[in-house]
């Protein structure tokens, strides 16, 4: 077994991991990236559509452009590609990593988890019927079409209206696949309004709300599905109809990837790594950033989070004394997701939240103080704000809530 030692080791080289590399390098730390794929970039490589970089680069880029342009900023880090972590021992700060070149024992000063998320599979919906070929998650279909030059089928329906599903409805249509429609079990869309406009409306692809699959048909290959109207998560009998298709694209959510560490660190009810305003987990020398903390809308936010995590990880690795947690955030009325769970009340920081249902106008509150008013607030669109400890009391129990108001 080969032995290595680094100040900061980063697990995952997507947007958050690259941000963490930059953050750690800025503090003159020695940095090792451990990456599963053969290159950095993560999901950016297959997201060939535009919509990235508006914050970080002040211009609109595609995923591959964002990846390469950001990578060009990173000089002087080591990387192990096509490598996977077998074990983390946070007490002795040891990682066991395997790659084609052997097994490594790596001692770290601090660790940054940037493992992103994986797709919730169609199986998770527990739909009755057969399990023929032709059922893909949206990201897998995206990988086929955008990286491997393969089409998943000829006539598709999209289940779930998450952003990747909407993007794939457009992408498949442009590639000559007939996209019959997008079906969403909730009474509101799952992705950004922008994507409903430019991916569905532009191509006259119908979005059927409160509708989902109740049965899968086909033996070898998918032959069709039965869809029905849904109310409160239950199918309404008598509303079933059959749709012939050879392809089903599932865009039914993302799950933060924390399988490696869920015994080591505190995990939130939504599956994300629980972090404080320094992006520090419940273990002092383990940091986390990006979609393994909570599912983000914008890659730019993920990058910025990663940069912070990398900087703070480097400070810990260099034995700097870090502030303690003094405040805990609670999800109040109207809030489904919060990105940061604890605060040290030492620095201003970005908090991202999601409301739990669509609101014509939402007033966001911190304890009894109004923070921000948001028009057309939707669970699918993250709300961003800065919390400054000199402006708000960020000690003790802090409740974040969203109150619906009339315009």
């Amino acid at each position: 077994m080969k032995r290595l030692e680094y100040d900061v080791v980063i697990l995952g080289g997507g947007a958050a991991g690259m941000g963490a590399i930059r953050g750690a390098l800025s503090q003159n730390a020695s940095v090792l990236l451990v990456e599963r794929e053969a290159s950095t970039g993560g999901v950016l490589n297959q997201c060939i559509h535009n919509g990235f970089g508006v914050r970080v680069f002040k211009k609109e880029l595609t995923g591959p452009e964002y990846h390469e342009m950001y990578l060009e900023k990173l000089k002087g880090f080591d990387a192990m590609y096509e490598a996977t972590v077998l074990d983390i021992d946070s007490e002795s700060r040891l990682l066991k990593v395997i790659s084609a070149s052997g097994i490594y024992k790596i001692r770290y000063g601090a660790l940054v988890l940037a493992t992103g998320a994986r797709e919730r599979p169609f199986e998770a919906l527990r739909v009755p019927g057969s399990r023929p070929s032709g059922i893909f998650t949206a990201g897998l279909a995206q990988h086929f079409v955008n990286l491997e030059n393969r089409l998943p089928g000829r006539k598709a329906i999209v289940i779930g209206s998450g952003d990747i599903g909407l993007i794939m409805a457009r992408r498949l249509t442009l590639e000559g696949v007939e996209v019959e429609g997008v079906y969403e079990i909730m009474p509101y869309q799952g992705g950004l309004t922008r994507n409903v406009v430019q991916c569905l409306k532009d191509f006259n692809i119908p979005l059927h709300l409160s509708t989902s699959v109740v049965k899968v048909h086909g033996k070898e290959r998918l032959e069709g599905v039965t869809v029905a109207k849904f109310i409160d998560g239950n199918p309404v009998s008598g509303t079933e109809r059959f749709i012939g298709c050879d392809t089903l694209i599932a865009s039914v959510g993302l799950i933060p990837e924390n399988d490696l560490v869920d015994k080591e660190i505190e995990i939130s009810s939504s599956g994300g790594a629980v972090v404080d305003d320094l992006m520090r987990t419940s273990v002092d020398n383990i940091f986390a950033a990006g979609n393994n903390v909570c599912i983000h809308d914008l890659v730019d936010f993920v990058t910025v989070e990663g940069e912070g995590a990398g900087q703070n990880a480097a400070r810990v690795a260099k034995k700097e004394k870090m502030p303690k947690r003094v405040g805990i955030f609670k999800k109040g009325k109207g809030i489904r997701v919060i990105s940061i769970h604890y605060t040290t009340a030492t620095i201003p920081f970005k908090m991202y939240v999601r409301v739990d249902h669509p609101m014509d106008m939402a007033i966001l509150r911190i304890n009894d103080t109004n923070l921000k008013t948001v028009l057309n607030a939707k669970p699918s669109e993250m709300i961003e704000f800065t919390l400054d400890p000199t402006k708000y009391n960020l000690k003790g129990e802090i409740e974040l809530s969203a109150v619906e108001a009339k315009r």
């Binding site: 060939i48 955008n146 532009d202």
Partner: protein, 127 residues
């Protein structure tokens, strides 16, 4: 004739501002509110006169470490030309190596807009 106002979501960036566009009775653009930047104002005007979109897609690569290179139109092209543009782009092949930003198709469909590579594709190590 009377003015009319339509609501739309800006698609220039993922912020997705809610725009209110006012037009005269002939559908001519008059004004816009709700945009957070100048790009949003330009988008609103274009959207009611001639809607345009950036077209991201792929082109086949010969002798590359990947079978495809991702590409996009350098600027937005008229929305009504998207499918025609796909037909044209589909007929192209490029030789590796490809550099990001390299112009792969000039003046797509006479729009004056070029198609550029959005990533680097190195030559296949095996060849």
């Amino acid at each position: 004739m009377s003015e009319k106002t339509i609501e739309m979501t800006c698609v220039v960036c993922p912020i997705g501002c809610n725009l209110k566009v006012t037009m005269d009775g002939n559908g001519k653009f008059l004004s816009v509110t709700g945009n957070k930047c100048l790009k949003g104002a330009i988008y609103a005007k274009e959207e009611v006169t001639e809607p345009k979109r950036i077209l991201p897609t792929n082109i086949k690569v010969v002798g590359g470490e990947l079978p495809l290179v991702s590409v996009r139109t350098e600027k937005p092209i008229p929305k009504k030309l998207l499918f025609e543009a796909m037909e044209v782009i589909r007929t192209f092949k490029v030789k590796a190596p490809v550099k990001r930003g390299q112009i792969l198709i000039k003046n797509l469909l006479g729009t004056g807009v070029n198609v550029i590579a959005t990533r680097t594709v190195k030559m296949d190590k095996g060849t």
